[in-house]
Homo-oligomer: 412 residues x 2
């Protein structure tokens, strides 16, 4: 593989961005379409046959010596959030391209066909819905839901499809079948601090965490802060503060399971210097790869509500906003990736993914896992997002070796 | 005294309100001027000589048989906040009027002259500055500061003075002298829950608390809530939550001193479901009548900042916004009021005032205290503010007896 060639690809792809800080290449926009056409051209030049499916996913096939065997696939996405960095999604796509170029350079043939997939609309920034392409590919897209989606300018997903020569009414035809794909592995930047802090080159993803989310209301009394003695107060802020700290304590107890609990939204009313807060509202996000562990944190949250309600005489209630199910990665694929790392003498750990990815949907279709590479300072969805190309190359070596092992090289 | 006559006065005075929910009679507006003219008329009908001073304070004098003796004074204010109730300020003024009417009915003469004062601009709602009238009367008004004051429509205090036939350049002439006033007692609704909860008719104010205020910044790191393990986080919300709870704990330890600590303003950033809060900002208000007690809570706040900074690796700093000095009420006046309650068989407690009042300024000029009457649910600055007229009448009995004792009845 050629690091300079890969760097050049990063530079070229980064040019496809709408104005604004960082990368702005939102799903199904003209800019993203142009980036996709650029990628199709590069993949064709690398000897792949490329088609676009009914959801706008790009599927590039490198034929195998036994074309009827299921394909071994990799890929990620090139759409971005607003003010994104250059690596989220793009890293997995450009590493795949570089691997295909290297196989072409070295004239390596495989028994199974190989595939590079560029998933459409992974980010939720435009339509408020994520991983639309991989959902379509795995038959998980709800037609009524997709017809309701609109971006902030009032453009419907249906119109966006039309602008891309697609028909939302036909999106179900993007669904693929179980025996089409032997394995899928997505390389992605970690978007967290673990690999960097532990000084490890590669994370092999064992499971993708899923959140359960709650909205918590804490209602007290908005009294005058000067005239209301401490023992006559029903301070909603203080009750909410105790609940937030309980979530943290419960999640820390689940450290071994990697479960996390976060109060990311927290607001009080009326919010005046001389008024005891009468209302606090917060959103709690609890996620993990172990449902049992996640449930223990939820139970601790419920207990905190009861305890604080009793101790402070506050009115407290919560409602579940959403609940998704964690996705296990395929143990055999994980073991294969670990073996490859050992062979290549690359430092690795097995870890969960705290964020969602297209691999989460692909796991319902075929044996799936992911390779993480370090993110500088754990930053992502940010122009300062950074992964060194040298670090990326270590992940690329693992991915290439894995793909070749799965697809079985015939002429080495 | 005549409860029905007093009720009628409340009904009449409540008619002087600008549109909006509740009472809207902001300082130095045309509506407040009309209310003042109505009160002047009523005071004159009750046999008092009325003048308006250089600050717009109304000073109504009931002559004594020894006109050269210092006056015994009572009073409060009739300006209001936005969407006010009918009792804050008004209660003290209309009780004073009813007392004067009753003395006229009963043809009671006193050796010392009596005075009813209606202070101008007690509320800060219009110009962001409170107790302007009593500050002027006690020589505590900073001329440069008053010239800088503007309401939300851009009307300067200077213009408002002109509209009332006053000249801000002459406001210093409103200052009165130490030997003019023998005693001042203001009757006011409590604006807190203590009297109602304790089932007591009258609170005798021993001191007026004053706040020290701080702005606290807590800075952490805004990480992805899914990909950042619990032990890699610098969560600003959780640090701020611990600090807020520390303020509460420290204030509860000072319960015997009546010191209170409140975090009334609390906001986090970025405030997104899937982002660990990177910044929390809060305003802390600590107030009490004992500077030593208040200082212990401040010390506990400072210690909490240090502890949380160390334990969580957050960047935390605070700045003092303001610091005022508590005001002691005159012990002899307090003792006199207590004696009057005992004589009248009225249930009383001695208590601090958590809110500021004109009496706070008057205390620098003459022996001063206050009489509190119960506020339903402790509510104030709210259309639902309520004090029963029967409850008010108990406070009125105490005030009348006190005024007569101080002024020395000559013909009973």
């Amino acid at each position: 593989m050629n690091l300079d060639r890969m760097r050049h690809s990063f530079e070229e792809l980064a040019k496809f961005t709408d104005k604004g800080e960082g990368i702005n290449r939102l799903a199904y926009t003209e800019m993203e379409r142009n980036a996709r056409l650029y990628m199709i051209e590069q993949l064709e030049l690398a000897g792949l046959m490329v088609r676009t499916d009914y959801a706008g996913n790009v599927i590039a096939r490198r034929e195998g010596t036994a074309p009827d065997l299921p394909v071994v696939a990799t890929g990620s996405h090139i759409d971005s959030v607003y003010a994104a960095g250059e690596f989220d999604g793009t890293a997995g796509v450009l590493v795949a391209l570089e691997i295909m170029r290297s196989l072409q350079d070295e004239e390596i043939s495989t028994e199974h066909p190989l595939e590079v997939i560029i998933f459409a609309c992974e980010e939720s920034s435009r339509f408020g819905a994520s991983t639309l392409g991989s959902k379509a590919m795995t038959g998980r897209l709800d037609p009524a839901y997709t017809r309701s989606l609109t971006d902030k300018n009032g453009v419907t997903l249906m119109q966006a499809f039309e602008e891309n020569g697609l028909d939302l009414e036909e999106v179900h035809l993007a669904k693929r079948f179980r025996d089409e794909i032997k394995a899928f592995v997505e390389l992605h930047v970690e978007q967290g601090p673990v690999l960097e802090k532990q000084g490890v080159a590669v994370g092999i993803v064992s499971a993708i965490a899923a959140p359960i989310r709650f909205h918590v209301h804490v209602e007290g009394t908005a009294d005058h802060s000067g005239t209301t003695p401490m023992d006559y107060r029903r301070d909603a802020l203080l009750g909410a503060a105790e609940i937030a700290l309980s979530v943290e304590r419960a999640a820390i107890e689940e450290l071994a399971h990697g479960t996390v609990g976060t109060v990311g939204v927290f607001a009080i009313q009326p919010g005046a210097m001389n008024v005891v807060p009468g209302l606090a509202e917060m959103d709690v996000d609890i996620r993990g790869t172990s449902l049992a562990s996640r449930e223990r944190v939820v139970k601790a949250l419920e207990q905190a509500l009861e305890d604080v309600k009793k101790a402070r005489g506050l009115d407290i209630w919560m409602e579940e906003i959403s609940s998704e199910t964690p996705v296990e990665m395929d143990p055999a694929i994980v073991a294969d990736l670990q073996a490859v790392c050992e062979q290549q003498n690359i430092k690795w750990i097995t870890m969960p993914s705290g964020a969602g990815h297209d691999a989460m949907n692909m796991a319902s279709l075929c044996p799936t896992s992911m390779i993480f590479v370090p993110s500088k300072n754990g930053l992502s969805h940010n122009p300062a997002e950074y992964t060194s190309l040298e670090g990326l190359m270590e992940g690329a070596e693992v991915l290439r070796a894995f793909l070749l092992k799965q697809a079985q090289v015939v002429n080495e």
